[in-house]
């Protein structure tokens, strides 16, 4: 009872607070604004100081201060010269519009009003209940039934939502794989989807209708039913069988993707992709079909890839701006990283493997559709297969991409012949001089 009285007080208090805030908003915003002005002034003075190259110490402290207080403190220590010039620089410095604070206050106000409405509705409901009780018509199970009905409404909405998701978002998301192994993955994906959708829908129908059917009403009693070993065995064994089928299916698919026979590994086109913050580099083996050695210790500004040109296989290695591969040919990607872990991910191909520094990962696959055909199929003349980084790697992670172009074999050969080599003339010169100086050291390094 006491709680309910307090409820009313709370509603009134909420209203008062809301009205009070409404009146105080302009002054509040003004106050905040003046504070912001202060910050702006001090921040501006910082920049001016740095520009004028005042004492280095002051500049450093100015750098480290982020808060308004810190900024003000620095402003106080600043020389009169810089502060006078800072006054002129106010307009250039970052400044927060007082409108920002006003908007924020309005949103808070809106929320408070909403809370008040909720409190009032709650209060009205309590009063309603109270009158029912006084009239002797109070049904203690009314709320129980109400919540049970909500559960059923939720069930309908949930099933509709799931259907909407599958029909609309599923349609947006789904593009058939355009690689040989990807088609097998897709089949498995669809089988799994069918199974789990059936389970999801059935379980939710049971889970949300049972509460309605078996809700507590006057005179109802539960059925004492602690266990039934047969039923329990059934629903242990059935999922176990379904899972065994999925596991076996998945296991053999996985092995067929990752366990490529050695002769196929050798006969495939080899491409090396190196990830670094925040770009990808692509290296083709050139005419000899062998990718030259790489030694990270040989990385120089000019040879940023770190290719070891002591290995003659490296001399004809080709640098490519995009990943271009021929259709219906097996391609073996060697994925390496220069700095941290990245992930080589091509969603359309169902291809992903991490680029890990210190080791080479491989992924071999056969694309089955050219970019041109895909564009036709998607009815989107700008559509491209894209390879993106899928392992958190820093501030540029969200934009670390490489175009993947699938072409016919003739086009591929033609494209390959137009690409530049890594071993440019400048690098050749650098290599020659370095080799003359300490060839011995380099040879041992490359052996590592």
């Amino acid at each position: 009872m006491k709680f309910k009285i307090n409820n009313r007080f709370r509603a009134v208090l909420g209203c008062l607070l809301a009205v009070g805030l409404l009146f105080s908003t302009p002054s509040f915003a003004f106050q905040q604004d003046s504070l912001a002005q202060d910050t702006a002034v001090s921040a501006a003075s910082d920049t001016v100081e740095e520009g004028q190259a005042d004492t280095a110490a002051t500049a450093t402290t100015a750098d480290t201060t982020g808060t308004a207080e810190g900024g003000e403190a620095t402003a106080a220590t600043a020389t009169s010269k810089s502060s006078s010039s800072s006054a002129m620089a106010v307009d250039e410095g970052p400044q927060i519009d007082p409108q920002v604070y006003k908007n924020m206050t309005y949103y808070i106000l809106l929320f408070l009003i909403l809370c008040t409405v909720v409190a009032v509705v709650g209060k009205v409901l309590s009063i309603y209940e109270l009158t029912r009780k006084m009239n002797g018509r109070y049904n203690p199970f009314a709320n129980n039934t109400f919540q049970a009905v909500l559960m059923v409404i939720f069930l309908v909405a949930f099933l509709g939502f799931v259907y909407y998701g599958y029909a609309v978002w599923g349609d947006w998301a789904w593009r058939s794989a355009v690689t040989e192994h990807g088609e097998r993955i897709d089949t498995m994906f669809i089988i799994t989807t069918v199974i789990i959708t059936i389970v999801l829908v059935l379980v939710h129908i049971l889970l949300l209708t049972f509460p309605y059917i078996y809700r507590m009403r006057k005179g109802t009693k539960a059925y004492y039913y602690p266990h039934n070993d047969t039923i329990e065995k059934i629903w242990t064994i059935v999922p176990a069988i379904v899972l065994t089928v999925l596991v076996l299916f998945g296991f053999f698919t996985w092995r067929s993707i990752t366990n490529v026979p050695e002769e196929l590994q050798k006969s495939a086109i080899q491409v090396e992709v190196l990830g670094e913050q925040f770009q990808w580099q692509v290296r083709y083996p050139g005419a000899d079909g062998v990718i030259g050695k790489r030694n990270y210790k040989l990385t120089t500004p000019m040879n940023s890839y770190g290719i070891d040109f002591n290995d003659k296989h490296a001399w004809d290695d080709i640098q490519a701006s995009d990943i271009v591969i021929p259709v219906n040919k097996s391609v073996r990607f060697h994925i390496i990283s220069k700095d941290i872990i990245h992930s080589f991910y091509i969603p359309d191909f169902r291809v992903q493997i991490n680029a890990v520094p210190g080791m080479t990962n491989y992924f071999q696959f056969t694309p089955t559709m050219t970019t041109e055909d895909m564009r036709e199929k998607m009815d989107d003349p700008k559509y491209d297969f894209i390879m993106l980084c899928n392992k958190i790697c820093g501030s540029g992670h969200y934009n670390m991409q490489k175009k993947v172009i699938v072409v016919t074999e003739e086009e591929y050969k033609e494209w390959l012949s137009t690409q530049n080599k890594y071993f440019t003339e400048d690098l050749q010169k650098e290599f020659a001089t370095a080799n003359a100086e300490d060839s011995k050291e380099l040879t041992t390094a490359s052996l590592n």
Binding site: I195, V199, L200, F210, Y214, L246, W254, G358, M359
Partner: protein, 625 residues
């Protein structure tokens, strides 16, 4: 009706009068399990709100990547100059959101709260085996929280390598600013946190094994206790492995070792580290990391079992199967960690093996879900807010768990690994499900913790907004993942194929904001009811377990007189032949002759004979079911 007479008048408990309780020993450095539970809970709630605010911030960035929000600059300063969040700070937000939610809220806030509260209460113990260790456990946890929050105030920003902190990103400060001092603080915080978990875990296990009251054999323990017990075992065995991972990472960062580093050229600088492997860290991390998700979800399953049974007024279906499936999950949870590493370059054959073990673990989980539904069947269901959250928990556990069949399948994982599909999967199955288990527990045991009731209407409002909000937030993410949208992307504007998801991102963010604001209803309800809630009765839910035989007012040692003796299992709800629909564990069979079943006597021939005589004398016929 109860064999242990509870008398409020007899609260003169001389044995403990020598305890001079000051404010400091009662509320701050308390060694009382009930107070420590409240400390864990409130710290957990504070951390949850903090982590939730972080998530709203990055959701705002994702929904409106091209809009300036000058107000952000007011709060975030240089991290959001001009009202536009920086990519580094975005990564910090997702990192700290994940860390806090997984470790501080769902591990410490959930296990810490309810293990501490319920283990002594439901076992009939006066307190934990070691109250001092219990207190230390809390204070280590608290310090860890303070350090983690403090990392927001260092110049280079908080850790930002993702909650999995994979090196080399986390160990080379030139690769990302957050890997400077912020990362060091993360590691220190986590080490303290693990110390807290180990102290707590040892305590929980020894209490469960040694301090059960008379008659409380293992098969009479409530499922909550089974869940906490097995969770503590998992934690005790796996958390120390994370310490080793964290300490080696610390050495790599600060001492110059190369456990995880090799062949690095970061920002044009050739690093001297050689011979390590980043994959080693991943193995060590996920050896904890995967059991960790069961550490998070098992207590929630335990709480849900208890709440669903109590509020269905029906015994939990298949008690033994529920325990065995928990044991199965416990054992299997240690041999599935590799499924997080299918595409990291781990030996593919090993990946295949991990895939098999991973899908096996789905069987005990499925059994649990089906048993919950069987418990609801023909029940007499009472919709307390706790019950609503428990049903919601089962719903999330099922819809999130099912998508595990894709991710546990190595071949399908190729395309889904590290995409939004994963985000959707674990936020439903371990995030939302565990949070709902925890909230169900809060609503259910609030009268026991604070002696007052929470407001039910606000509880329902909170439930519906959060339940619908969580589905609106996480369900659409599955489809983004299928399309190949990676997680931890600062904005979707760099790729044409992601354009279509902008509208969905708006929906998700608005749902997140509404669900976030709905938590105000909970916070208000929780904190206001501490002082203003309706006074609770001793056993408000007509429950069978021992904690409801203690007086409402907390007393040192829990029971004023002797500790109660236990005669029966905790799920005798609606037993035919009994006049009420619940029979507390403390009621001996001699007082319930009209409802006893032959099965109850566990082969005690003397008791069966007495019962049969009584049956004959009273014309009672018993069908063995």
């Amino acid at each position: 009706m109860s064999s242990t007479v509870i008398s409020h008048g007899a609260a003169h408990h001389d044995a403990h009068d020598h305890h001079q309780e000051t404010f400091l020993t009662k509320y701050i450095f308390s060694q009382d399990h009930k107070m420590i539970a409240k400390q864990f809970l409130i710290t957990g709630i504070v951390m949850a709100v903090f982590a939730m605010v972080l998530s709203i911030l990055f959701r705002i960035q994702l929904a409106w990547p091209d809009t300036d929000f000058p107000i952000l600059e007011v709060f975030l300063g240089k991290w959001a100059e001009g009202g536009r969040m920086k990519p580094e700070f975005f990564l910090s937000l997702v990192t700290i959101h994940g860390t806090m939610m997984v470790f501080f809220v769902l591990t410490a806030g959930l296990s810490g709260t309810f293990s501490n509260l319920l283990i002594p209460y439901q076992l009939g113990a006066r307190d934990m085996a070691s109250p001092l260790m219990n207190m230390l456990s809390y204070w280590f946890f608290f310090t860890a929280c303070v350090i983690m929050v403090a990392s927001f105030f260092v110049e280079s920003g908080p850790a930002s390598a993702g909650w999995t902190i994979y090196p080399p990103l986390s160990s080379v400060p030139t690769s990302i600013p957050g890997s400077g001092l912020g990362m060091t603080l993360w590691l220190v915080s986590m080490t303290l946190f693990i110390a807290s978990q180990v102290l707590g875990g040892v305590n929980y296990i020894s209490t469960v094994l040694n301090m059960r009251t008379k008659g409380m054999d293992l098969w009479k323990m409530p499922l909550t206790i089974w869940a906490f017990f097995l969770t503590a075992i998992v934690g005790l065995l796996s958390f120390p492995v994370l310490v080793s991972a964290v300490v080696l990472l610390f050495f790599d960062r600060s001492v110059g070792t190369s456990f995880y580093l090799s062949d690095l050229v970061v920002q044009g600088e050739i690093l001297p580290n050689e011979g390590g492997s980043p994959i080693l860290f991943q193995h060590l991390f996920w050896f904890l990391g995967h059991p960790e998700v069961y550490i998070v979800v098992m207590p929630a399953l335990g709480l849900t079992s208890e709440i669903i049974s109590t509020n269905s007024r029906k015994p939990i279906f298949g008690y033994h199967a529920m325990v065995y499936s928990l044991v199965g999950i416990t054992v299997l949870s240690f041999i599935v960690w590799g499924h997080h590493m299918f595409v990291t370059g781990m030996n593919p054959f090993l990946g295949g093996v991990f895939m098999i073990t991973t899908l096996i673990i789905a069987v005990p989980s499925a059994v649990k879900a089906f048993n919950y539904i069987a418990t609801l069947w023909r029940g007499n269901i009472r919709f307390t807010p706790a019950m609503m959250f428990a049903i919601g928990m089962v719903s999330f556990f099922v819809s999130g768990g099912l998508t595990g069949l894709y991710l546990g399948n190595a071949a399908l994982d190729i395309n889904l690994h590290d995409t939004y599909f994963v985000v959707a999967h674990f936020h439903l199955v371990m995030g939302s499900a565990s949070i709902f288990g925890m909230l169900a527990g809060v609503y259910h045991w609030y009268p026991k913790m604070f002696g007052r009731m929470m407001d039910t209407k606000l509880g329902y409002l909170h439930f519906w907004l959060t339940f619908i909000g969580a589905y609106l937030v996480f369900f659409p993410m599955h489809f983004m993942g299928i399309d190949g949208v990676p997680r931890r992307y600062y904005t979707f504007t760099a790729f044409p194929f992601m354009d279509k998801w902008i509208s969905v991102n708006l929906l998700i963010t608005w749902a997140a904001i509404v669900a976030g604001l709905a938590q105000v209803a909970f916070l208000w309800n929780f904190f206001a009811s501490i002082w203003k809630g309706k006074k609770a009765t001793q056993n408000p839910w007509n429950s069978n377990t021992l904690e409801w035989t203690t007086p409402v007012e907390h007393i040192h040692g829990n029971w004023p007189g002797e500790i109660p003796t236990v005669y029966r299992w905790p799920y005798d709800y609606s037993k035919p032949g009994h006049d009420t629909d619940f029979i507390p564990q403390t009621v001996p069979f001699s007082e319930t002759m009209s409802s006893n079943l032959p099965h109850d006597f566990e082969g005690n021939e003397e008791a069966i004979r007495i019962q049969e005589e009584w049956n004959k004398a009273n014309n009672r016929e018993v069908k063995e079911g």
